[in-house]
């Protein structure tokens, strides 16, 4: 399984994503510069975290117009798996590949912490093998991670079972105290209606090795591999 990790000027988790994915048996990740226009030969696309274009104007606002994003749009429309982490999530929202937006954290502080998230949907390509209610410990590190969507969009997200992860406490309960940034309904990650594009503020890439304090992040990449293996089997 080949993952393309897109490098924008200002990406800083591209190495983390590549290292986390390359550690998985059967997976390989390669960097693709944002000025490229082809993603041929890749099975999945990763938009890593960081501060693309210095977060100027709005986080992700300029990166979404990078040449590679046209191809990402096309590949997403064709059903390829796309995951955006942190700044990658912001870029996906700016690009209109995911609904809603990410705004300044409610308490105005940059948060850098370990968060507990709860899997809300166990049949998405990003949460296969993770029963509903599974708790994933994933680090967060962002200043603009407060997910916002208008009421009608929120309803669609809930009705369509597009909320994949919520911030919870250690007991798995959604509480105000466990919400690191003020996101509506403690939303930590959502997918599109077609369920092949996933954005999340927590970093699975920084939680894919025991020495980093958690290996829960690897489960998300493993799920993607499992989903792609299924697709390949169907196609064959």
């Amino acid at each position: 399984m080949k993952f393309a990790v897109i490098q924008f000027p200002g990406s800083n988790c591209d190495q983390d994503c590549t290292a986390a994915i390359n550690d998985l048996p059967g997976a390989s990740a390669k960097f693709v510069w944002h000025k490229e226009s082809s993603l041929e030969g890749y099975d999945a696309i990763v938009l890593p975290g960081g501060f693309s274009y210095g977060d100027y104007l709005r986080c992700g606002a300029i990166a979404r117009f990078s040449p590679i994003m046209r191809t990402v749009q096309k590949e997403a429309a064709a059903g390829k798996l796309v995951i955006g982490v942190c700044n990658g999530f912001q870029i996906l929202c700016e690009a209109g590949l995911l609904p809603g937006a990410l705004v300044r954290n409610r308490l105005l502080r940059f948060v850098c912490d370990m968060a507990t998230t709860r899997v809300e949907v166990d049949d998405s390509p990003f949460t296969l093998g993770l029963p509903k209610g599974t708790l994933l410990r994933l680090p967060v590190a962002h200043g603009e991670g407060c997910f916002f969507a208008k009421t009608s969009t929120l309803r669609e997200l809930n009705d369509g079972r597009q909320v994949l992860l919520r911030y919870v406490d250690h007991h798995g309960e959604v509480t105000a105290a466990s919400n690191p940034n003020g996101s509506v309904e403690n939303i930590a990650g959502i997918c599109n209606r077609e369920r092949n594009v996933f954005g999340l503020m927590p970093h699975p890439d920084r939680a894919s090795e025991a020495r980093l304090g958690s290996t829960d992040g690897a489960k998300i990449f493993q799920s993607m591999m499992q989903a792609m293996a299924g697709q390949h089997a169907e196609a064959a």
């Binding site: 709005r58 606002a61 300029i62 117009f65 809603g100 954290n105 916002f148 003020g182």
Partner: protein
């Protein structure tokens, strides 16, 4: 032609920066301040001033300069000649 764009957060969007500044204003002796919203102001100089410019600028306001999910924008001609 010189244009100005003002981008403001939509009413439904939390503006924690504005809230922090409102509090500071209240602490500094103006308890009457009820609300502060913080946005962005852009000055744009454009070569030419044909009628086809404005729709293109509006397009860019929607696509790039503001995010319609969370922000409103106002595009208008700035006073004075561009340098």
């Amino acid at each position: 032609m010189k244009m100005k764009v003002i981008v403001t957060p939509k009413a439904a969007v939390l503006d924690p920066q504005g809230a922090a500044v409102r509090e500071a204003m209240q602490h500094l002796g103006m308890p009457e301040v009820r609300s502060v919203r913080i946005g962005k102001y852009l000055e744009i100089e454009v070569d030419g001033d044909g009628p086809e410019m404005e729709p293109r600028l509006h397009q860019l306001c929607r696509d790039l300069l503001s995010n319609p999910v969370i922000e409103d924008y106002d595009l208008s001609k700035a006073a004075g000649k561009s340098a």
